[in-house]
Every structure is written in C-alpha cells, then in structure tokens.
Symmetry: C7
Subunit: 258 residues, 7 copies
C-alpha cells in the first residue's frame, strides 16, 4: 500500500460510491494499485507515427508466451496496451472495438483516437459512481494516428479520467520507464528512434529480474511485444521477433551500457 491511511478512515473505502471526508474515492485508489502490479506497457508518439509496446513476463515454461497478447489492434489506425487485471482490460478493449466498428458504419470514417479513449473512460466513470459494481482495475494506453494525420497517445485511468501524453508507461515498471522517457524523449525523434527507446526501456525493466546482461538482451525478442502505426500507412503493424531482434542487435552496445 503506497499511501498512508489512518485506521479510522478505513470505513470510507468499501465502495466507490462513498466519498472520504477529504473528497477521495478510496476504491478508485485501490484499483490503481491493481494497475501498478500489472506488466509494464507503454506508448510513444512521434511526428511519423506511434509506438505501442508491452513487457511479457516469463511466467513459467508451460505458458505459451507466443500466444499471449499484451497489445491489441483496435482499428487500422489505433492500437492499445494495458496494465492491471487482464479480464477487465479485455472487456474494455472489446468495447472499444465495437465502438470503432459502429462509428465507421454510422459515419463512414474512422473515429479519432481521443474519441475511443473517451468512450472507454466514460464506461470507467460509470463504474465509479453507481453502486453494486467495482471500478475497472486496469489502465489502458490508446495510441494512434488521427484522420488529420496527427499522432496521439492517451492513458485512461480506473477513475474515468484520461490524459494526452507524448510518451507514457503504466504497470509495475512505470516509474523506471517514465523517468527514462523524461530523460530521452524528444518531440522530433523519428519512429525508429522511438522504437529503439522503447526497447531500451523494456530492457531496463527486464534486466531488473534477470541478473545476466546477455540473457536479458537475448530474451528481449521473446519478452517484448511491439507495434507501430505510421502516419503514412496508418496500419497497425506488430513487429516479428526477428524484426525486434534486428533492432536489439543494432543497439546492443547501448543496452550493454545501461
């Protein structure tokens, strides 16, 4: 538990429909804790496109890690990653996809990235205000290219808010990742540079649990899921392990020095 809470206040934290005397919703805060325990996910925007990536933790040799997705395509021009409770995330991603299909049918054009983030955040808000339910224990990063060619990255929170970011990470490695973003992110970086930064960040997180530098580097193609959408093509492209490996090899020296 990351925040101090005097024992006499605990009575306010049993439902999202009860404000504490300070005007807080404790259940929403607790849902954030579920996010902070999730696998690290991140999104970056550049002028050329956006990158979405996620760590896939090694959870035993029996798990078929190749068959587990942490980043999803919402539409050709939008991708999503999440951190927190998997079932909750899946439900909201399905909802976002349904919305996108309906939007295309109704208006004959793809929805802007913010609208998708907003409708998901609206569902989350409702689950913080009405009784008999709990907030969604998940944060999502929607990244994409708008019909007007601008690139966007949004994070939706368990409380129903969403913010626009240049680059953002969520999940258990979010502190490490965001510090690296603050240090290395530049608005004018190319998509390729953004992909390299992404891999450096996820390497830094993975290395924390893998002692051996070589091993950590070698595991990157297996343990990283990475997709990008270029402003030019507006197609959600998931990189193959081989493609990831190629980039990793090209920045091997930099990784060694981290």
């Amino acid at each position: 538990m990351a925040f101090p809470m005097p024992p006499h206040q605990t009575a306010y934290d049993r439902a999202a429909t009860i404000f504490s005397p300070e005007g807080d919703l404790y259940q929403v805060r607790y849902a954030f804790e579920a996010v902070k325990k999730g696998w690290t996910s991140l999104g970056i925007k550049t002028k050329d496109g956006v990158v979405i990536a996620a760590e896939k933790r090694f959870i035993g040799p029996l798990v078929d890690i190749d068959d587990i997705d942490k980043i999803y395509k919402i539409d050709d021009h939008i991708g999503v990653a999440f951190a927190g409770m998997g079932g909750d995330g899946r439900i909201l991603i399905d909802y976002a996809r349904m919305f996108t299909v309906r939007h295309r049918l109704l208006y004959g054009e793809p929805p802007p990235v913010e609208l998708v983030a907003k409708v998901v955040a609206d569902v989350k808000q409702a689950y913080t205000q009405h009784g008999g339910v709990r907030p969604f224990g998940v944060a999502l990063i929607f990244a994409g290219v708008n019909p007007d060619g601008t690139t966007k990255v949004y994070r939706t929170d368990p409380g129903g808010q969403y913010f626009s970011f240049k680059a953002i990470a969520i999940g258990s490695g979010e502190q490490v990742a965001n510090e690296m973003f603050e240090k290395h992110y530049r608005s004018d970086m190319s998509l390729e540079e953004a992909i390299k930064l992404t891999l450096k960040i996820l390497y830094a997180i993975i290395r924390k649990t893998v002692e051996d530098t070589e091993k950590a580097i070698a595991s990157l193609p297996e343990q990283v899921e990475l997709a990008y959408i270029t402003v030019k093509d507006r197609m959600f492209i998931k990189m193959t392990k081989e493609q990831v490996k190629e980039v990793v090899d090209s920045i091997r020296d930099e990784l060694m020095q981290l």
Copy 2:
C-alpha cells in the same frame, strides 16, 4: 478536512441519502472537497460578453498539455469550465451538450444559459437523493450570452444547487481568485479588461508554485486556457497561445507588481 466533525457523528456520512441530525448531507460536503482540490477555473460576465478560463497545471514533461482541455464549448453562445473529478465533469458536459442540441431541434432556438445550468443541476440533485450512487464530485461554471443579449455566469454545485454570479472561481485557487474578483471586478468593465483580470488572477495562482516571476509570466500562455463569447458575435472563441501571450505582454508590468 476543513470542518470539525465529532467522531460520534461519522455514522451519518456514508451515503448521500442519510441526513445528519443537523440536517446536513455529509457526502455532499465531501464531494465539495473534491472540487476544492481541482484545478482553478473561473468565469466573468461583462456587458460586452463573458470570459471562461482555467489553469492547466504542469503535471510533468510527458503530458501533452496542449491536448488537454479544461474549458469546453457547449453551444455557440455558452462555454463551460469545471473543477473536481475529471470523469464526472466530462459526463455532465456531454449531458449539457446533448440537452442543447435537443433544445435547438425542439424549439428552433438556443437555450438560455440558466436552463443549461439548471438541467445539469437537476441531474446532480438526483444523485444526492437516490441510493446506490454517489454525488458528482465536480462544480461547473456555465458562462454565456442569452438570446436576449444579457450575459450570465452560473456555478452548479455537487449538491444540485446553482447560483448566478458576476464573477466566480472554483477549485484549489478559488480563495485567492475570488478575493481578487471582490477587489477588482467592476460591472462596467470591458471584455478586454475582464480578460486581463483573468490573466492576473491565474498568474497570481500559478506564481504560488513557481518561485521565479519571469518564469511564471512566461508559462502563462502554456498554462492558461481562456475563451470568450461576445454579445455581438455570440461565438465561443478560444484564444490561441499567441493571443494570450500578447495580452500577457501588455500587462507585464502589472503582473510584475503582483
């Protein structure tokens, strides 16, 4: 917690549907606390038009502050700003927009500003009287020009009340702002003077967290969102950073002396 509450009364504060022995709804009070933690927003009316403005706090270099809105257009002739829980505010602003569209369709004319404030306040009231929900943790300032040319500023509270104001601020800087309003507001001030007063007030609030005077002044175009509606044009106009900067430059000396 701003008010004293003897421990034996805490049992009355778990639901908005329970009166305390003094006839209070504590959950509504607690929702007000959420408002008081929000970013400062304000509205002013003059004979020539209304001004709506809000502080956009610097919350780290990764946030794309240009892509975050704190003031919204409801209709050509009405704008809104809010302080408190973002998700709650968004829901109510959507509701106000839907109402306005329906009103135009049904009656062939835009609704008066008060009517929009009233329907939003009605929704808020319902959330204080029926079980299984919590009050909205947000206050909104609706400002606009009525079909008859009068200018109006309304604040709706979490408890479902709304009041008419000449000028009003909400959120964490509301005390500073409202004291400056009381001192400097004049019914006969021009819209331009109202815009300048707005910038002075938001500067005073921002300077509290930015030691350096120069820096605080320089950050104004980035950290202030400001729109106006003139009686003549009845169009919600959001000022560009350049336009804000121009006004800031014109009152630079006055800001230095604050």
Copy 3:
C-alpha cells in the same frame, strides 16, 4: 440539533423507512433541520389577495443577487416560496408547474391551490416510505387565489403533511416571523397592509445580521423578493425594487422603531 436524543436510539435514525420505538421517523426530523437553516420565506392571505415573500441573504459581492429567485410563479393564480435545500426545492417546484399545466390541459381550468400543495406533499410522503431515497430537505409555501375567489396559503413539510395557514413563515427566521404574525396578523387586513407587515418582518430578520439600522432599511429592496396575487386580477405580480423601496419609505418610521 433542537431535540434531545439519547445515544442508544441513534440506530433508528439511518433511514426514513425505520420507525423509532416511539413511532417517529428521525430522518424526517433531520430533514426539518435542513429547512430551519434555510433563508426565511413567508406567505400571508387576506381577503383581497395573497403575499409571498422571501429573504435573499447577502452572500458576498460576487453573487448576482438580482438573478437569484426565491419565489416562483406556479401559475397565474399560484406562487411558491421555499426554505431548505435549494436543489430539492427546485425539483418540487418544477413538478408543481408540470402538474398545473397538465391540469389545465385535462380539465380546461386552473387547479385549486390546495390540490397543487397536495400533489407535492404526496411526492414528499413517498420519499419517506420507500427505501433507497432520502426525504426532501425542503418546506414550501404555496399561496394563491382559488377559482372561487378564496385565498389560500399552504405549507408542505418534509414528512409529506401540509396545513392551511392564515400566515406562515419557514426557514431560519421562522420563529421571529411567526411571533410577529401572531401579534400583528388580522383576518381583515388589506393586501397593502399585508405587504407592509411582510416587509417589517423581513426587516426584523435582516436587522439581526446588519448592525446599522439605516443600512438594514436601505438593503431591503435588494434583499427582499416579494410577489402578490389579487383576488381581482389573479395574476402573479413580482414587485420591482423600486416598488419595494416605495413601500419601505412609507413605513420607514415604523421600521426605525422595531
């Protein structure tokens, strides 16, 4: 809290749907406390017509007190004032208006005053008997002229009861006001005398918070909202500040002596 309540009984006061062993509904009592904290409102009936009036408290220089209503027209022949929670009062006044419109449409004639008071009281009763809601924290005074020319004043209570009065005040000044009514009300007083009595009463209440006699008198046109309906015209007429001032001037000596 005006009544003594032994601590062991508090368990009965959490819902309007629980009787105390003495057959009381504590939540309804607590709702009455909300009324007692409201701004003073009053109604008087005379043979010539009825008067409805309310105090508008000075709540700071930024509030546009001219744009705040404390008394409302329900129909040409009925007015209403309230004390207590503003949002609750607004909802019930809307309901009364809707009922009146429907009544005219269905029966081709305006409803008697009592019927309007009764349907509002019926809504209030329902909110004291069904779970998941709280009682309305508001009392209303309906005053008007019946189709048969009789004048009527009704007060509806949070518990769902209503009574007929010759003259009655509610809100924080109700004790002062009702004592003055008991002393000065006469069944045969003219409407003009009733208006003067109203102003004397509201002056007595306002003077309690304004030390200076002159200032208190001067503030009356600003701080008093007053309407009347004559038996002859059956039109709800709200007096202008100038009209109020004229009457105040005519009774200035009497006010000085209060």
Copy 4:
C-alpha cells in the same frame, strides 16, 4: 414506549420484514405508536346511521383550522377518519376513493363498507411484508351504510388487519374515548344520541388540555369535525359549526358535569 423490550432484542426491530423470536413485527408495533400520538378520531354505528368525528387540536393562531380536514367523504355512503401520520393517511384515503370510483364504474353500484376497509388493509399488509418500505403509520376508521341498509364501522391497523366495531376511537385520546364508549354505547341508541355521545367524548378529551370548562365547551364547534350518514338518505353530511353548537348547547348541562 408502552411495552417493555429487553435491550438484546432490539436487533429485530429495524425492518418490518424481520420476525422477532416471539413472532412479532416490532416495526408494526412502532407504527402503532405513531397512531397513538395522533389526534383522536372516532366512529359509531346506530340502526339509523353512522357518525364519524375527529378532534382538531388548536396548534397556534396562524393555522387556518377551518381549512383543515380530519374526516373525509369516500363516497356518498362512506366516510373516513384517521389518526397518525397525516401524509400516510392522505395517501390511503386517496386510494380508497379511487377504488370506490372504479368499483362503481365496473359494477354499477357502490362497494360495501367492508370491501373498502379491506382493500386499504391489503395495501397496509403489503407494506409489512416486503422490504425497502415501512409500514403505514396510520389507523383509519371507515364508517358507512351498506347497500343493504346495515351500518358498519371498521378500523384498519398499521399491520394490515381490520376489525368491525360498534363504536371505536383511535389516537391520543383513544383510551378515554373507548372507556366512555364502553360505558355509554347502546346498540339501540338513535343517531342523535350517538352525535351527543360523540361530542361528550371529544369534550372530555379537549378539556384535558383546556383548564376552563366554559372555554372548553365554547371551543367545541371549532375543534370538532363531525359527519353522519343516515340509513335513509345515505349521504355523507358534515355538520356546520352552527349545527355542532346547537347540539352542544342542548347538552351543555351534561358537559358541565363531566
């Protein structure tokens, strides 16, 4: 609280849907306490007709006691009086009237008195068995003349039972009244005698709070509401103050000796 209740049993008295270990519904008992605090009402049947009467307590000079009803006509041949919570009584009386109108429409004849008492008691029973509501805090006396010419008096209780009576009183004066009924009621008394007995009983109750004998007698026409229905005419007739006074004058000596 009229009955002893050991503290460890209080947990059974929070809802009408919980039986105590002794098979009691405490909330229904508590609702009876609300009845016992009500203004005294009574009903008598004679061969010639029925009498319904109620005490109207003096509650201050501002109340327009003439405009307050305590006894109501349900149909030409049925009247009702109640004791307890006014709002609850009003709702049930409205329901009884609606039922009577529907019965006449459906069957082309007025309903028997018992049927009206029964449908009201059925509503009351439902409010003692289903959660989320409270029992009705009111007892009603239905008195009338059946289509077959028999006279009937029924009392419906908060628990949903009803009984047939020769004469019965409810409310705060019920003990005094019922003792006088037991002493003075005769099956063969005339309607006129029943009216006189009614006035004697209500006088006895009123005199308890009015020291002066003369004053108490003088107040009777003001403080007593009395109606009768004769077998011959089957019309609910409310007596005027003058008519009440005439009867009071005729029994003045007897009243003096009470």
Copy 5:
C-alpha cells in the same frame, strides 16, 4: 420463545434466506410463533363431510364480533380457517379464491382440496427463499370434499409445507385441542359427532379464560364459528348461532363434566 437458542447463533435469524449451521431457517420458526399466538382454529374430516371451526375471542364490548369472520368459504366444496397474523391470512385466502375461480374457468370443474392447499403453500415457500420479504406469519386449514367424494383436511405452514390430517387444530389452543382429538377422534365418526367434538374442544379452550362453567357454555354460540360441508351436498354451510346453541344444549351434560 419455545426453543433454546444460544446467543452466538442469533446472527442467523435475521432473514429467511440464511440457513443456520444446523440447516434451520430461524425466521420461519419465528413465523410459527406468530401462529401459536393466534386464535384456535380446527378442521376434521369424516366419511360424511368435513367440519371447520374457530374460536372468536372476546376482545372487548366495542368489537362487533358478529361481523368478524374466522372461517371462510373458498368454493362450494372447500372452506378455510387460519391462525396467526390476520392480514397475512386474508391475502392468502384471497389468493386461494382467485385460484379456484380460475381453475373452474380453465377446466370446467372445481379443483381438488389438495391443489388449493398446494398453491397456497407454494406462495409461502417462495417467501422463505427470496430476499426482501418475510415469511407469512399464518397457518391455514383447508377442509373440503373432493370431486371424487373423498373428504380432506390440509394444514399449510409458514415454511411452505403442507400435510394431510384426519383432524387438526392450530393457534394458541392447539395443544389442548390436538390432545382431545387424539383421544376422541374416530375415523368412523359421523359428521354430527364431529361437530359435537369440535364444540367440546372449543369449550375446553374457552373455559380456560372463563371461570364460570355456565357462562362459558352460554358464550359458545357467540364465540364459536363453525361450518361444515357434506359429501352429499358439497355446499359450505355456516351454522347460525341458534343451530350452534341447539347442539350445545344437546351436549350440555358432557360439557359440564369436562
């Protein structure tokens, strides 16, 4: 309270939807206590027909005991008596009558006695398994003649069970009555003998509260309600006071010796 209940188990007895660790529903048990406090009712079957009877307790001189029913006709061939909460009993008897009418309409023949007992028991079962309601605090005895000429007596319990009996009593006198049944009931007794046994039993119960033997015997025609249905006629016949008196006179000597 007839059964011992250790204090630590009380937590299981607040709702019929909670089993105690022993597999009991305490709320159903408590509802039985309501039955045990009711006026004694009974039913007997003989080859010639069935008898239904009930004690009508003297509850003061004002009650019109002649106008109070404790046994009811469901259909020509079925009667019912009940013990427990009057309102609950009335609701279920209405339900049984509705069912019988519908059955006749749908199938063109009267329902067997068991089917009527079963549908009432089904309603009772539902009120022990679903939340937000309480069990019915009433037991009913259905007695009648089946279309095939067999005679039947069923008792339905608060828990939703029903059993077939040769003779059975419920209510406060059930122990006395059932002991007498066990001693004196014979399968081959005539309907007349059953009626006499019924009167002896109710006399034994009434005598417990009436010291004087003569008085108790004299009160029987007033305080006993008795009906029978013969196999031959299949008509529910309620005996008049005179008819009851005649039987009482014929067994006077036997009564004296009880």
Copy 6:
C-alpha cells in the same frame, strides 16, 4: 453441526454468494444439514429396472399418513424421492415435471433421466451464486429407465452438483442405509431382490425408533412408500400396502435377524 468451524470464520457463512478463505460456501453446507434431517429416501438401479422408496415417519395419530407422498412420478419412466425441506422439494419436483412435459412436446420423446436431474441441478446452482436467495435445502434422487433401456439413479445436491449412483440413500438414515448398500448391493441383482433390500434397509432404520421387532415389521407397509419402474414396461408403479406386506412376509425371517 457436523463440522468444526472456528468462531472467527463465521462471518463468511451468511450468504451463498460469499466464499470462505478456504474456497467453501458455508450456506451450501448448512443446506446439506437440512437434508440430513429429512426422512430417509433411496434409489437403486438393476438391469431390470429401478426402485425408489422412502420412509414415512409416524408423526402422530392425527396425520393422515396415507395421504402424504414422499415419492413422486415425474414421467412414466422417471420417479423421484427427496430428503430435506418439503416445500423446497415440491417446487423442484413441479419444475422437473414441467420440464418433462415441455421436452415431450418439443422433441416428441421422453427426456433421458440425466437431463431431468441436470436441469434441476442447474436451478439449484443458480440459487448458490446469485444474491437475495438461499440455496435449496433439499436433495433429490431421480431414478428411471432411459429411452435406450439403461437404468439410472442420480442424486442432486443443494450446491447444484449431481452424481450417478448404483444405489444411494439420503436423509437422516443415509449412513445406515448406504452402509447396507455397500455390503449387499450387487450389479446383477434382480429388481425383486432390490425391492427386498430396500425393505430391509428401511426396516433397519425404522427399528431404531421402534423397540419391538414385531411392531416394526408390522408397521412397514404403513411407513414405507415404494415404487419401481421396469425396463420392460417403463411405467412408474407404486406398490400397494398389500403388495409391500406380501414382500415383507416373504423376508420376515431375514428381517428378524437384522
């Protein structure tokens, strides 16, 4: 209570919708206790057919034990017996019958035995997972002959599970009965042998409360209800008392030695 439960865990046993930390549903366990208090019922399958039987306990001379059923026909080819709360059992047996009729109408053929057990178990499962209800306090044994000629015996539990058995007993005598089944059941026994085993088992249970061997044997035809369905005829046949007596007489010596 058959299982030890530390006091600090009791908080998990108030609703079937709460898991204990060990993954148990205590309310379901408690419902099993209701089953264990029921009258013993049993079912056996042989190659030739199935036997369903139940003990009918002597519960006083007034009960018409001949008119009480403990085993029921669901369809020609399926019978059922139950132990536990009678009302609950009746509801589920009605449900099974309705399902069977609908199945025949829809598919033109009788449902297999397992399908009937399954739909009843599905209803029971639902009552363990949804709030506001309690589990069914009853176990049922469905025994029958499938359309393909195989014989089946299923037991459905309060928790919603069902199992297939060769022979099984439920209720208060289940331990005695199942031990005898384990000792004497043979897959190749004839239906006649199964009937004899059934009678021996129920005799063993009845003898526990009847001291005298002769009396216990003599009471068997009265206190045992027994039906069988042969593979050949597929008709639910309930044995008459005479038929039971005949079998009892044929195994009298064996019974004497038990």
Copy 7:
C-alpha cells in the same frame, strides 16, 4: 488457506466488488481455493493434436463412476476439462456449447479455440465486477484444433483471465502434474507420447492415495478419463477403458519406476 492475511484486512474479502488496499479481489482468490480442491484435470498440445484428461477419484463403491464425466466435448474440434465446483463448471460448459452452436449457425464454421475460452472468461469477469453474485469457483481447460490446424490449450481462471499453455494441469494435483510437465514436456512430442505422459502424471497423483503400486496401476483405466483430438481428423475421441489399459500396459515399467 495458502496465503497469509493479516486480520485487519479481512473486511475487504466479503464481496468480489471490493478492492483491498493492495488492489486485490479477495473473493476471487478464495474462488481459486475451490479450484485447488478439485479433481486434477489437464491438457497438452502437440503438433499432431491435443490431449485432455482428468482424474476421477474413487468416492465410494455406490457411485457409478462410469456414468460421471470429467471431460466434455464442446464441438468436434474442442474439448474441455475442469476443476472446482461441479455445478459452476457445468453451467459454463453448457454456455460454451451454446456459443459454439450459435457460432456455427451464424458464420458457417467452427469457432477458434481461443474464442470459446474468451467468451467463457468474459462471463467469469462479469461475475467478479457486479454485486449480488459470487465469482465462479471453477477453472476450465479448453483444448482443441483450430480451423487453421494449429493446436491450442487455454486455461480460464475464476477472475476472468485466460492464458495459452503448452501443457497445464489444474486441481488438487496441479503442483505434482505441472512439475512433471516442466520436466518431460517437449514441443515436438507426438500425440502418443503426450498420452503416455498424461497417464504417468495421473498415475503419480493417484499413487499418492493408493499405497500399493500394482493396485494404482490397475485402477488407472477406471480412474482416468482421457480424450484426444488429432489435427488430421478433428474429432473429439474419448478413449475406452480398454484403450487406456493398452497404453498403461505399454508403459507399465516406467510407471513402476515413478
């Protein structure tokens, strides 16, 4: 209880709709405990096909173990096994079958294995987020061959998540089984080898409760249920006892050495 839980946190574990301060849903954890008490089930994928198997524990000689299924066919190309509460598993398997049928009807082709696992996981997720219900106390293993010829094994958890596995076991023997999988599973093993590994694993689990090696081996055909689906035939094939015995005999030496 497998995890430590300080006593002061227990208050968060009464409903799946309450987050603990650490962001956990305790009720979901407790539901996992129900899974861990279930009979062991497992699934393996190979290039040639998938194997699904389950232990059928000996629960007494009266249970007809041949008539109890632990693995089920969902469609020709998908099978399922489960561990945990039987009723809950059955409901979800029915749901999966319904979904599969609907999918074939709507799209004219069988659904991929993951889609079936996903819709079941979606139902489970809903039962962790909405009040008035409890999570499903069951885990399921879906194994099958996709339309594209790939083989898949998914495990759905009580919390609504699902993962892809190469081989996985659930239930009380899951630790033993998964350790053996980690040691012996190879991606390139043949279906026959997978079947043999399955039998070795279930033997290892059964032997824990059966002392005698010979007996444990002999019981395998009775106590193991095993099905496979080949990529070639895409038909769910359940092995007969004889077929299982044949394989057991072929690996008898290896079993002896375990």
